[in-house]
Symmetry: C2
Subunit: 344 residues, 2 copies
């Protein structure tokens, strides 16, 4: 004969801790503590509660729990666009870590719009999420509204596109080193007048890539020519236009800070009748799936998106405030593989 006896397991509606308490002849507080693993209940009681909960089909009402605790077990992830290979892989990486740690993931996309971003932050704050992982939109150039919309008390982890001035953890690629390596690769393949498709100046990662590009040229004794550095050249269409101008300006290679602009460039160059990599070489950044499929396949820097997502999730879990660097990897494909003329 046990001390705890279940008197009745029939309950109308959802089973609550109060029902369990009544059934066992204890109080709701004891049930709550037993189920949440508090050390303040006897092991025997915990067992009885757990069994009763199982038998009665209890499920914790997370809404009530959240209200009382003032926070939920949801982590928000804000990205510009979910279908970008890069972001979807980051999300996948973050999910794998967060789910294992008992969190659910709420995904929001901003479509690169500032106001959608603010709305997403507000929604997350109102739902009192446990934390936010975010990569800001291109449109937002000011960290202040972000900090305001998120409010205090919710940890923010920024990844890829970060505002240095916001507090909290950051996870970014080694943009400087990788751009350096990509440019050196072009030089090693004998290209001599290398243009650059740069991104937005408000976005640190693009500035770092630009700097890496400059450093590589300088280290090889080449001068940086600002006339063949094309700003804000990230999407397919601007890539097409810039490629044609680069051609007019005598370029024999392009290092693009984006993948879609590199795609546009290759399309435009092919239409002009140029052969890649013989006549002109192209290297892009961000390893979208199409970079491998297109013809010629595109040499790119792989961002290790999955690892970035994992790193961001871990930074949240451990409450880190540090900046993590994820290295990129150069995938050498057809678009830049000319016989090496200038061996290093």
């Amino acid at each position: 004969m046990h001390k705890f006896q279940i008197y009745s397991i029939f309950v109308v509606g959802m089973v609550t801790i109060t029902d369990i308490a009544k059934a066992l002849g204890v109080t709701p507080s004891t049930v709550s503590r037993a189920l949440s693993g508090s050390p303040r209940v006897k092991e025997e009681t915990r067992k009885a509660v757990q069994q009763a909960a199982r038998e009665m089909g209890y499920e914790r009402n997370v809404l009530a729990s959240n209200l009382r605790r003032g926070r939920s077990d949801i982590v928000g992830i804000i990205v510009p666009r979910i279908y970008r290979e890069f972001f979807s892989k980051v999300i996948g990486g973050a999910e794998s870590i967060l789910n294992a740690a008992g969190y659910s993931v709420l995904i929001c996309q901003t479509h690169e719009k500032k106001d959608a971003e603010i709305r997403a932050l507000r929604t997350l704050r109102k739902n009192q999420v446990a934390g936010v992982l975010m990569s800001h939109s291109f449109e937002s150039d000011d960290p202040a509204p972000i900090a305001e919309a998120l409010g205090e008390g919710i940890p923010l982890v920024q990844f890829d596109r970060v505002f240095r001035s916001l507090p909290g953890a950051k996870v970014v690629n080694d943009n400087f080193e990788s751009a350096y390596a990509a440019t050196r690769h072009l030089i090693a393949n004998g290209y001599r007048r290398i243009g650059h498709f740069a991104g937005y100046e408000t976005c640190e990662l693009f500035v770092d890539r630009y700097r890496g590009y400059c450093k590589a040229l300088e280290d090889c004794g080449m001068a940086v020519d600002e006339s063949i550095v094309f700003k804000d050249t990230i999407v397919r269409e601007t890539g097409r236009e810039a490629a044609l101008r680069a051609l007019d300006l005598g370029c024999d290679a392009i290092y693009s800070a984006g993948a879609f602009s590199a795609l546009g460039a290759i399309e435009a160059l092919k239409e002009k009748g140029l052969r890649l990599p013989e006549d002109i070489g192209v290297v892009g950044t961000s390893n979208e799936i199409f970079t491998e499929m297109m013809s010629p396949s595109l040499t790119t820097l792989d961002q290790h998106a999955y690892e970035m997502g994992q790193a961001a999730a871990k930074a949240f879990l451990f409450g880190s405030q540090a900046t993590t660097l994820i290295s990129m990897e150069l995938h050498i494909r057809e678009s830049s593989s000319r016989k090496s003329i200038c061996q290093e």
Copy 2:
């Protein structure tokens, strides 16, 4: 001098309706009704409450609201993979409608796994979402666990991949008609032995595509040859293998129920030295971005994913129980555009 006078607007912590009530000398219930648009408050009172709320920086505590109302303003969307162009567009379409209607969207991906799917459904139910839009994973072949995990009381809208036997609204493509049209297109381009890459038999949409393919052949006086119908051929790798077998079996064209399997087929065929569309024609389903970029570009059926998402969201909002049909559109590209021999 107004009737309502704000006595104090200084509050520690978050502002609640009780604070507003105190400030105005009314009760929380009146404030609640005023803010939620109940007709049972005087217009003058409503104005005063709204102004006070604004001035005091009030924000409704959605957790408390959800607990009391027993549901939230979140709609869950469950998809196999967010980075699939198709699903991300569906999500985009659903988002546009749901956000406008005051809902937030919680996205979950199952990675085609049954247990991840069940976990997602449980999480959503526990958070008492207002509804769920879902496209089930390939792995799940039984609707019963889905119904059980979601429980009762949460409306379910299925899209694309649906279980006919589950109650609730469904939004699907006109798979039969479109497969028919795609196959007729190949016939019209002079192809005479057309193989089919079919999907999983547990998934209705693939069965419908198969039936459309058969009907087209029959209508043109061609017999269906089961030896050139390749089951479970949906991913890139199986597409490669099936293409080689199809070739051995004398096929001069393939209608694939997937896009990635069509991609694999084209890769394999090109490696074999075949010319497309001259030697062999290929049509795929699902308009992924790479279908347009590859060489030769792939003729596909565009699923109008965005519209499907919008339709699913509307079905939820209006509480529909009907099945909506979204038509697919044949995008004719290089992979099947042989000079027409047999004009219709």
